[in-house]
């Protein structure tokens, strides 16, 4: 009972942190402390929930205690918050990355003025993402998506230079249209089912068969959430928005935001509410294949380190979507494991690019070189992240890509399996470009006096690098039983909502 009643804290803590930061902005050290403390608390909460989680257990909270109406009306009134295996899996990832990013930005954000604004927006974004994960109500999902999105538009523009403003405007317009499409989809669903609760919707849709309207809803929601997840052809904003944000925010956007708002929402809506119809599976597979290809090939010809990483995100989200689109147990396992790995190594690589920029003042890889000797921690952790991204055994990324490719073969998608393998070779190529041009070779004269980044930044880098190296251990049966398997069961079986 206690567990249920503390579910809203996932949203309340960062929200309170955000407002306290804004109130106490003048007090020295408060914004940093609150930013780190809020994310520590939410991470501790998600650890608490995963410890309390027994097989198939679901925590449900009726907000405002409208539960009594259930008996009278036969459907749920009011908002439900639901924590099941998939939710808790995502909560762990989001809050872990948020915590490390908050620690990192204690040092990094000294480059900017008005640090409290950064922490306020950051915590608002975290509140929105946690809300998206724990809600069991379609309209509430839309509201939280918007909270996280608007905070992220503002964070992309944080530098307020030409480049940042332009990227943010593009992102805001495309994100705004995406939100409208999502809202339209939610309205159509409401008019078809008469409820906003995901569990009820699922039951009603399963009873009544699928009305013709449902295909329109598929289209609207896939486009809307696809825009948030930056799947090709909806990706145009990402390569501008992600590199323009400050490095910790790039790490949050690429590492967790596109997954919480895009991938999680797609999985939740299409698996839990619609029961994963065949048409959606085909659309997802096609979009995934195109995303993998376009993202990887365009990344190959980038010279801006962050822009290369941003295109790489498009490609890697393609892998996740491929696993989800296959829809078998192994496919979903691979997708979720790759989602975890991508969150870790992409956050790490963006934080590394921030560390390089912090020390050298440039993101252009043509101007770098020989940084390995000057910045051992940064280059070592970049290597760990890059190897995980490229899929070199025994790094974590290798196992998840392997599982996805095996799942594709098992499901008789031979061409897709071959395509995924081919694109992972292209991935190796652009990863080598980063390590070769930025970190190996001779030290440039201009960088003779650069130093390693400060302590808080190093802590985040080292922790994430360790996760990238040891992430493969999640597949050990005892560990998998507690973390990955419950999430897979929610999507494959009927364990959720």
């Amino acid at each position: 009972m206690i567990s249920e009643s503390i579910v809203p804290l996932f949203v309340a803590i960062p929200l309170a942190g955000a407002f306290l930061t804004a109130l106490l902005k003048r007090v020295k050290g408060i914004p940093d402390t609150l930013g780190v403390m809020s994310s520590v608390f939410t991470f501790a909460l998600s650890v608490f929930f995963i410890l309390r989680m027994q097989a198939g257990r679901v925590f449900v909270l009726n907000v405002g205690n409208w539960g009594g109406f259930h008996e009278v009306l036969g459907r749920i009134v009011g908002i439900q918050m639901v924590v099941d295996g998939f939710t808790i899996f995502m909560l762990i990832i989001v809050n872990f990355v948020a915590f490390l990013v908050a620690v990192y930005s204690v040092n990094y954000m000294t480059r900017y003025t008005e640090k409290w604004q950064f922490h306020t927006l950051f915590l608002l974004m975290l509140a929105g993402m946690n809300g998206v994960l724990i809600t069991g109500d379609m309209f509430n999902l839309f509201v939280f998506v918007e909270i996280a999105s608007i905070a992220s538009y503002a964070l992309v523009a944080f530098g307020t230079e030409k480049r940042e403003l332009e990227a943010s405007f593009k992102y805001a317009v495309m994100g705004g249209v995406a939100s409208l499409l999502i809202l339209l989809g939610v309205i159509f669903l409401y008019s078809a089912t008469g409820t906003l609760n995901m569990g009820d919707m699922r039951a009603i849709l399963a009873d009544s068969g699928q009305p013709a309207l449902i295909y329109l809803v598929f289209g609207l929601l896939l486009t809307g959430f696809g825009l948030k997840a930056a799947m090709v052809p909806f990706h145009a904003w990402l390569p501008d928005a992600h590199p323009s944000a400050p490095a910790p925010i790039s790490a949050m956007l690429s590492g967790v935001l596109i997954k919480a708002l895009g991938v999680y929402a797609i999985a939740r809506v299409f698996f839990t509410v619609f029961g994963f119809p065949h048409q959606v599976s085909i659309i997802l597979l096609v979009l995934a294949a195109v995303s993998m290809g376009v993202g990887a090939l365009v990344a190959l010809r980038q010279w801006d380190m962050k822009r290369l990483l941003a295109y790489s995100s498009i490609s890697q989200v393609g892998y996740i979507m491929l696993g989800l689109g296959i829809g078998t147990e192994l496919g979903v396992l691979g997708a979720l494991f790759h989602l975890f790995n991508h969150s870790m190594f992409k956050s790490l690589l963006f934080l590394d690019s921030g560390a390089v920029e912090y020390s050298t003042g440039t993101r252009d890889m043509k101007e770098m070189g020989g940084l390995a000797r000057k910045m051992p921690v940064t280059s070592g952790s970049t290597l760990a992240g890059a190897m995980s991204l490229a899929g070199i055994p025994p790094f974590a990324g290798f196992w998840s890509k392997l599982i996805i490719i095996i799942a594709a073969v098992q499901a008789h998608h031979m061409k897709l399996a071959a395509w995924a393998a081919l694109m992972s070779i292209v991935t190796i190529a652009y990863v080598l470009k980063v390590t070769r041009y930025a970190f190996l070779g001779e030290v440039r004269a201009a960088f003779a006096n650069i130093r390693e980044v400060p302590a808080f930044m190093r802590i985040s880098l080292v922790v994430l690098a360790l996760v990238c190296i040891l992430g493969g251990l999640l597949l050990v049966p005892q560990v998998r039983e507690g973390f990955l398997d419950p999430a897979v069961r929610v999507l494959i079986g009927t364990g959720g909502m």
């Binding site: 403003l165 805001a172 339209l184």
Partner: protein, 117 residues
């Protein structure tokens, strides 16, 4: 025909908004396009709730209105939230437009070419 008219008008309004977003070069007009499309969606949300001759969903002591003849009150609550969110987005985009004007001295999106590729 007449019963569908509001929905068709709503669709037309939405298309006008999306058209403005896609084809206009002036930032302010793009923002207005988003706003128009947003109004269309909000209007649609209200239309979903409406039933012909429906009453407001308020119970009173003097009049006995059966619940079946009331309009669905839930979308009215939702549309309020949606309007507030729309306000936040619009305010943010306008703030961006002001900053962009300060940097470039123009609202023309084709003259802002920092980002490519």
């Amino acid at each position: 025909m007449n019963a569908y008219m509001p929905y068709i008008l709503c669709l037309i309004l939405f298309c006008i908004g999306i058209y403005a977003v896609l084809s206009k070069r002036n930032i302010i007009k793009i923002i207005l396009g988003v706003v128009i499309a947003e109004y269309a969606v909000n209007l649609f949300l209200i239309l979903v709730a409406y039933k012909t001759g429906g009453r407001a969903a308020i119970f009173s002591a003097t009049e006995n209105i059966p619940p079946q003849s009331m309009v669905d009150p839930l979308p009215h609550a939702l549309v309020l939230t949606s309007i507030v969110i729309g306000l936040a987005t619009t305010a943010f985009m306008i703030a961006l437009a002001i900053r962009l004007y300060g940097k470039y001295g123009t609202f023309d999106i084709t003259r802002m070419r920092e980002l490519r590729g």
